[in-house]
């Protein structure tokens, strides 16, 4: 548990250092995820300890967004003034993004299955 947590923090730290050193627009943790992923590919999978610690963290992933979400209390005035465009834009664009992504991916993977022969 402790070793796995340390490993995750080390990869995050590496990611942050790379992001700043190369002035990348991508945040450190995302680079850390990519680095850990490549490491897992090279080493042939995570240890049991790492798998369990990651599972525990990801099981409560929703909780980690609560502090930032509570920041809504700072925007009472703007939301009162622009609630209609903001709400419609959020609902509409979220639904459209899900619909477009899902339909494109389904159409492409179906065609791949029919022209590329049976896939497992």
């Amino acid at each position: 548990m402790l070793a796995a947590l340390t490993l995750l923090l080390v990869f995050q730290l590496l990611g942050e250092v790379i992001a700043r050193a190369l002035a990348l627009p991508v945040p450190g943790p995302v680079i850390g995820m990519a680095l850990l992923f490549v490491t897992l590919l090279l080493r042939g999978g995570p240890s049991e300890d790492l798998r369990q610690t990651a599972g525990t963290l990801l099981q409560h992933l929703s909780l980690l967004f609560v502090p930032a979400g509570t920041g809504i209390v700072l925007y009472g005035d703007r939301i009162a003034a622009e609630w209609l465009p903001l709400t419609v834009a959020l609902v509409g664009s979220t639904a459209l993004a899900i619909i477009v992504t899902a339909l494109v991916l389904r159409a492409l993977t179906r065609r791949q299955t029919t022209t590329g022969g049976p896939r497992q």
Partner: protein
């Protein structure tokens, strides 16, 4: 209130303990309700927790910064949790690799749809320029969205709120959209919700299956990358085309 209680309140409201405890307690209460509601999407635990906490802050007139001094310990774990997404990603690698081409095309289509439709709908309904630029990157994970909004001339902290709202909306609505479009493949379901609703959508996808969660995590990471690289030059061009 007796003087003693008063003093306790003064102490607690200045210490990080209260914000941290409140966050954990609110989330567990919200999760209990979510389970009692049979994991109904409308009882989304992030939505319920934020509603409870915002209510408490407003009623007790506690500044957000005071609350966040405690809650930041939870917020901090977003970093290692993002790194931890590499593990489910690794577990699903063979399937991800076999779908690489379609995934890239769906990624570009979904990423552009999310940003441009948010901007277009907001602009058509008269949102201010600051709000529009805060809306454009709202489908990607909070730190990327905030950085992109800042570069576009939006308000980063407003973007954080719009990002979380988008995540909650996707987590609530995806099931109905999939049922309507008859989409059953967990890979497709996970990828689409990851594109539209970043980490909160990914959390929701993990409740469906590990496969859906891994595809959502991949979509979230890739959309963050595409959005960070493309929006800073696409949005000025869109504004010029729209004559704004």
């Amino acid at each position: 209130m007796t003087p003693a209680l008063d003093e306790i309140w003064v102490y607690l409201s200045a210490s990080p303990l209260l914000g941290l405890t409140l966050t954990l307690a609110a989330y567990q209460a919200a999760f209990w309700l979510y389970r009692r509601a049979g994991f109904h999407p409308l009882a989304n635990p992030v939505l319920l927790s934020v509603a409870m906490l915002a209510g408490v802050l407003l009623i007790t007139r506690t500044p957000y910064q005071t609350y966040f001094d405690g809650a930041q310990f939870v917020h901090f774990l977003l970093g290692p949790a993002t790194v931890a997404l590499a593990i489910p990603l690794y577990a699903q690698w063979p399937k991800l690799k076999s779908m690489a081409g379609p995934l890239v095309i769906a990624l570009v289509a979904g990423s552009l749809t999310a940003a441009l439709s948010a901007w277009g709908i907001g602009a058509a309904l008269g949102a201010s320029r600051e709000s529009l630029m805060s809306l454009a990157p709202k489908s990607v994970t909070t730190p990327i969205a905030m950085a992109v909004a800042e570069r576009l001339g939006g308000l980063p902290s407003l973007t954080a709120v719009l990002v979380i709202s988008t995540g909650i909306l996707g987590a609530i609505g995806a099931r109905y959209i999939y049922r309507w479009l008859r989409i059953d493949d967990h890979a497709v379901r996970g990828f689409a919700i990851g594109i539209a609703s970043h980490g909160i959508g990914t959390a929701r996808a993990f409740q469906l299956s590990e496969q859906a969660g891994a595809f959502a995590a991949l979509a979230m990471g890739l959309n963050g990358l595409v959005t960070a690289l493309s929006l800073p030059w696409i949005m000025p061009w869109v504004e010029r085309l729209a004559g704004r």
